[in-house]
Amino acid sequence: MTLASATGMELLREEPTGGEPVLLEPGTDAEITDRLLAPLWADWPWFKYALAVSGLGACALVAALTYTVITGIGLWGNNIPVAWAFGIINFVWWIGIGHAGTFISAVLLLLEVRWRTSINRFAEGMTLFAIVQAGLFPIFHMGRAWFAYWLIPYPSEMGLWPQFRSSLPWDVVAVSTYLTVSVLFWYTGLLPDLAAAAVRAPSPLRRRLYAIFALGWRGDSAHWNDYRATYLIFGGLATPLVLSVHTCVSFDFAISQLPGWHSTIFPPYFVAGAIYSGFAMVITLMVPARAVFRLEDVITKNHLDNIGKMLLVTGWIVTYSYGVEAFMAWYGGDRYEMHEILQNRPFGPYGFVFWIVIACNCVSVQALWSRRLRISPLALFAVSIFVQIGMWSERFMLIVPSLHDDFLPSSWHIYVPSWIDWTILGGTVGFFTFLFLLFLRYVPFIPISEIKEMRREMREPAGRLAGAAGGGDA
């Protein structure tokens, strides 16, 4: 995807002609600070209800997983041949969503895209919580989840080690690395704002707490110097990392020889899909938050416009991948591949999923060619929901139909998810929302110091290059 989306970046780099500014009447630093910290101190009457509802979902998730571990994976709809289904679909879906955050913080950072600033922390938070959801599945889809640690190389009395030719240990390392790096990246960026929060917090208790989490950050110019350098390299590391993680995930399928899985296009195709769904999720979360916390001045139409374009670009990469997959199946002339991709996917028993995918991922996003729709929060939100559904369905389309009829027709068998499967899927959404609500409540979710810096640099043209923190010495 790199080439294609790089050109996408080019689009986003220059200010959209006649476009909205990335920041409206900023006011003084103090005003910005208090303005952006206000949500933390404000009282949200709806918060506890929202938290309760999502918490219920989280409980359902815990219950369903416990039941599964106690009784057996047979509670899921899985069978032989369809040995992987919802568990892996959800894993890929969530880890995909988790890609936008770091992509925005890292890639857009390197590309000095200014509109990144207002939304990156938001996206990073989303990333973390999405990875948490994804991380559940590699463990709980196992027949013997309590032995999951056998995938880690530790000296055991069995004298055995993991088998590193399998892509599953790759996933373990990739996902855990991704989680760790994302946390570091996120926390590093958070330090100055926690310091600010520690100053402005209304109650001494909160002041103390934020001070502790700020680790005593003093904004010393020497610290800033290391901070900027480190943050920049973080970006440089996180960029290939983002690409590598979903590449590893795609290997779970690509290294097999199953028709419909065994395909070299998978890594780029998966990464594009991941960022696609990630941006969709950013929109899904950002649009309501923007309205609730009246953030129109920091998350301007310019942001909406640009994310809309991102969606359009990645959407087209995904569409292109579908095309290439079909073409290669035909061009490769492999009987099994052709059956799977040209016959079974569109017209087989799961054909309807294929058409959902096309409608949501390829068609619905075309609405964003219109700038009017791009800057309309409602339209953008609607498209983002379609894309979420589409991307989940895409993973279903890739995993289940490929498995349910492979080489020997004698073993073909249909797959139907069980109610436990649905509960777990819904449960992760609840758990995700739960964590994200807590994040909004207690963490400055708009990077204050970066906004202030950006404001200053927008005033002095010399600083234009320094679109984001650390851009300076790049």
Binding site: T71, G72, I73, G74, L75, G77, N78, N79, I80, P81, A83, W84, H141, M142, G143, R144, F147, A148, W150, L151, M158, L160, W161, P162, Q163, R165, S166, S167, L168, P169, D252, I255, S256, Q257, L258, R335, Y336, H339, L403, D405, D406, F407, L408, P409, S410, S411, W412, H413, I414
Partner: protein
């Protein structure tokens, strides 16, 4: 013994499981008690085994099982006094070293916790002595004791029957829902007396089967399939192979193996046979004297739609005169059997491919002993006491006899049987019947060879045998079955030292040279002529015809409670846990019904509801329904399984009858192990005709080349194990599947589990339908772990749980498996099975006794698959090392190979070019399934080559 159902696709049901535990416990303890001393103090091991059991070393005993009066010898493997596996006995003429599904699965029935275990009178416990006093008491004048037995060839039972008759007030009847009366009467018709044809398929180059499923491994002598397979050996393109014609209303194992198949309604088989006979009579160049009448009658016959077919086949038969054989099935009327005998006479098959001998079954074909006679007696009020031994006539007797109601009218009724079934519920007295593996007995094979049945376990139940019941009538109140058998055998082993010969016969499993001398009765051509002249049957009231047949899994219903058999996929339909109304797709379309639709079958004013299963190969207008299902016995795995064909089966038309079909809106979910029946044109189960093969002898070889690969790592052990399966010999009979279940402790997952495609069979038989020249042809292919050298399953396992051994085995390390199931996804053959639940947790303790201690019981959440019976490989390796000698070829025999009636499976060492498996690797028909994937499978196949009529003129 609900070894299963709800348990598999739902969380375990604690209370039920505990209940079953208790149920099983007594059996378990009894069995355990038996371990210590075992039965070894008075029975004789099969081969040179230590007289006392050595822990860990299995002991083998020869014994005999009787179904429908025909004995099959078997060798039973016992671990510490508990039988775990039954295998064929090469010394026995019926077994010939192989064993059918029923005989193998009978092990599980022995441990069935649902078996009745108490003598009871009106449900209250009683003793054997009380029973004998009550039942054997002399009847007042004009009243008799009527005894209903299953047909038997047991010498000691036969003797006791005659002795009992001396009493004067004992009348014996025989009841077998799947009896061979038609065959016997056919023989009587043709020869004026009942004789038993002994077919030798090895000497028949052309066989015409008139609705005779002689290749099924279900209550048929394995010797038949074994002999037939010898005519299918094809090492080089110019070898000759036999040809099999099948005329049948529904697709059978025989039909699937046929080179040329004619699907007709069962009632038309007679016309086909007659037409064929006419062709042989009329066109016959030189007919022996005395046939003028017959040929005259033949000329006078009306034409039938089958004359064209008959002409061609007759030509083929005559061309092979002397090496041709025509056989008729039990489901066909006597006339068809008579015609078959006549044709064999004309073809000079008698004395070659078929010889005749007396029927081993006592009083075979004697109509005066059937249940109709009993019904008349009851109506006349002559029956003072009715004693039913074995079977379940209240359930399985012809419905028009209304046996249950009549039995209720008898003042004193008793039932000696295995389960508290329908008959038991009516009877005043109930006595548990001993399982043949825990008591003494004897039987004769189809050729009359007598063999002894010896107990292989200390009885778990206080059970009694037919012999003991009959003995009671002659005043022997508490004879042990052993005494009865030994007494009877004194006359059989009259010459020489009795004890010595007795011991030898026990050890050998059958009396040496015990076959009854063949007889050659003259054929009564006038009778044949009479049958030929007989007016055609009255036009059917319906175009549709219902065909009843013995089920491949539960037979006549006696195995309904056997979970191994219930979960075994039917060899033809791949259906488990049910029977179904089989119709051809065309007929289904005409009736407007689809799979799983419930239909009502109306036969002579009676109705049965059954699910529809459209099955290619079924003759149009036929609705085939297996008997033995729909039993109403509570607390059994069989509860609610299938539709009860006996509910409409009439004594006047026990095998096929007119039927009206009414559709209903209801659905009846069916559990099939194979949902997709087309091969999608993929080169999986390769089939060619002989001509095609000869014109392109390397068609298979092309699928045997190893694709180029960068990887050089090959197993480097001394031995390299491999398996070759000859699709030319494989009939799909599924005996190997049961053998695998028994040997490898394969759990049962129940109907729900099978519907979710979670069955655990390591070895399955794939059955495909392909568009053949004449309609639908079928192909079968045993599919098991291919033990690929470049196994796709191995490199995707994250924890080294499946790896390769130096002798070429794809090893599954259960205790290392974490259950990611990636290996199954990446297995192109989908032969890996996963423990979605703890399937063994639900197993009653008594059933645990049937488990093979040499094979690990798998835990929940781990993957499992075929191991090439690695336990047998290692056991042999160790023995060879101890004896400081190399392993002999064919010394290691996998379970499936051991029991394969046609010897289609060969296992051995391909590192040694002299082994048989290495020889098969040189066969031009050798190919790999999915060779293009470069998995280098160790399991390879020999392509099937059929020999249809147009083909192989020269052969």
């Amino acid at each position: 013994m609900s070894e299963f159902p709800e348990g598999a696709d739902a969380p375990p049901d604690i209370t039920r499981r505990d209940l079953l535990r208790l149920l099983g416990a007594s059996t378990a303890l009894a069995g355990a008690a038996g371990c210590s001393r075992g039965a070894t103090e008075f029975i004789v091991p099969y081969v040179d085994q230590p007289p006392e059991v050595t822990p860990g070393v299995p002991t083998l005993y020869a014994t005999t099982m009787q179904i429908g009066g025909y004995g099959t010898g078997m060798v039973v493997e016992c671990h510490e006094g508990r039988p775990t596996k039954a295998e064929g006995n090469p010394e026995h003429p019926a077994s010939a070293g192989a064993l059918g599904t029923f005989e193998q699965a009978s092990i599980l029935s022995l441990y069935d916790p649902a078996r009745a275990r108490l003598i009871a009178r009106h449900g209250r416990p009683a003793t054997w002595r009380q029973f004998v006093r009550a039942v054997a008491a002399r009847q007042p004048k004009g009243k008799q004791i009527h005894v209903v037995l299953e047909p038997t060839s047991s010498p000691h039972v036969a003797g006791l029957i005659e002795r009992a008759r001396v009493r004067g007030d004992v009348v014996v009847h025989y009841h077998a829902p799947l009896g061979r009366e038609a065959a016997w009467r056919g023989a009587a018709l043709a020869f004026g007396r009942v004789v038993e044809p002994r077919w030798d398929f090895a000497r028949a180059e052309v066989v015409v089967s008139l609705d005779a499923d002689f290749l099924a491994a279900a209550a048929t002598p394995m010797a038949w399939a074994r002999a037939w397979a010898r005519t299918r050996v094809l090492d080089a393109p110019d070898d000759r192979i036999g040809r099999l014609y099948a005329v049948e209303p529904r697709l059978t194992v025989t039909g699937m193996s046929a080179d040329d198949r004619l699907a007709v309604q069962a009632r038309d088989v007679r016309a086909v046979a007659a037409s064929l006979l006419r062709e042989l009579l009329v066109a016959g160049a030189s007919l022996p004297a005395g046939l003028e009448v017959a040929s005259g009658a033949a000329r006078g016959m009306p034409t039938t739609p089958y004359d064209g077919w008959a002409k061609a086949v007759a030509r083929d038969l005559r061309a092979r005169a002397g090496a041709a054989l025509v056989i008729a099935g039990d489901g066909q009327p006597p006339a068809v059997h008579a015609f078959a005998h006549a044709m064999n006479e004309l073809l000079g098959a008698v004395g070659r491919a078929v010889t005749y001998g007396p029927s081993p079954v006592h009083e075979a074909g004697d109509a005066s002993h059937d249940l109709a006679g009993l019904a008349r007696a009851i109506d006349a009020g002559d029956v003072g006491a009715l004693v039913v031994v074995g079977g379940d006539p209240a359930y399985s007797a012809a419905v028009d006899l209304d046996f249950a109601a009549r039995m209720r009218r008898v003042p004193l009724t008793a039932y000696v049987g295995p389960y508290a079934n329908d008959t038991a519920r009516i009877a005043d007295w109930f006595v548990p019947e001993a399982h043949f593996l825990e008591t003494w007995g004897d039987a004769r094979a189809f050729d009359g060879t007598p063999s002894i049945a010896q107990p292989v376990i200390r009885p778990a139940v206080e059970g009694y045998t037919a012999g003991q019941v009959l003995a009671a009538f002659v005043g022997i109140e508490d004879a042990t079955s052993r005494d009865l058998v030994r007494t009877a055998w004194r006359s059989i082993l009259s010459t020489g030292d009795f004890d010595e010969r007795w011991a030898r016969t026990l050890a050998r499993g059958a009396l040496e040279g015990g076959a009854a001398p063949p007889v050659t009765p003259p054929l009564d051509w006038d009778a044949i002529a009479g049958e030929l002249r007989a007016p055609p049957a009255p036009p059917p009231t319906n175009a549709l015809e219902v065909v009843y047949f013995g089920d491949a899994k539960v037979h006549d219903g006696r195995f309904a409670n056997n979970a191994w058999l219930q979960e075994l996929a039917d060899p033809v339909t791949k259906l488990t846990w049910d029977n179904a109304a089989l119709v051809s797709p065309a007929t289904a379309a005409r009736l407007g019904v689809a799979k799983e639709d419930v239909v009502e079958l109306h036969v002579r004013g009676r109705t049965v509801r059954a699910p529809v299963l459209p099955l290619p190969g079924t003759a149009d207008g036929v609705v085939a329904l297996a008997v033995g299902y729909g039993q109403s016995v509570a607390d059994m795995v069989s509860s609610g399984a299938g539709a009860d064909a006996y509910a409409v089966r009439d004594s006047r038309a026990p095998w096929f009858d007119d039927v009206a079909v009414r559709t209903t809106p209801d659905k009846w979910p069916l559990a099939l192990t194979q949902e997709h029946w087309s091969m999608e044109g993929r080169p999986i189960a390769l089939t060619r005709t002989l001509d095609e093969y000869r014109s392109d002898p390397s068609f298979a070889r092309r699928l045997n080349e190893a694709p180029l690969s960068l990887y050089g790592l090959r197993p480097a052990g001394v031995h390299q194990w491999a398996m070759t399966i000859d699709l030319n010999a494989c009939t799909g009979c599924s005996a190997c599947v049961v053998a695998c279940m028994a040997e490898n402790n394969i759990p049962v997952v129940g109907k729900g589990g099978v519907r979710l495609s979670r069955e655990m069979h390591w070895l399955r038989i794939d059955r495909y339908f392909v568009e053949g020249r004449d309609g639908v042809a079928s192909a079968v292919q045993p599919m098991l772990c291919q033990h690929c050298e470049r196994a796709p399953c191995e490199y995707v396992c994250p924890v080294n749980a499946t790896v390769h051994s130096s002798d070429g085995l794809n090893e599954m390390v259960y205790n290392r498996c974490v259950g990611t199931r990636f290996c199954s996804n990446n297995c192109p053959y989908k032969v890996r099975r996963f423990n979605f639940f703890n399937y063994n947790a639900d197993k009653p303790d008594s059933l645990r006794l049937a488990m093979n201690p040499d094979v690990t019981v798998r835990a929940r959440g781990v993957m499992e698959k075929c191991t090439y019976c690695v336990q047998r490989i290692r056991e042999t390796e160790i023995r060879a090392r101890r004896e400081e000698r190399p392993i002999r070829d064919l010394e290691i025999v996998t379970a499936c190979q051991q029991t394969c009636p046609t010897g289609a499976i060969v296992f051995g060492d391909i590192a040694d070019p002299t082994t048989r498996v290495s020889a098969t690797r040189r066969n031009p028909r050798l190919y790999q399934v999915l060779q293009e994937l470069g998995t280098l499978p160790r399991t390879r196949y020999l392509a099937r080559v059929t020999n249809p009529r147009t083909a192989g003129r020269s052969s």
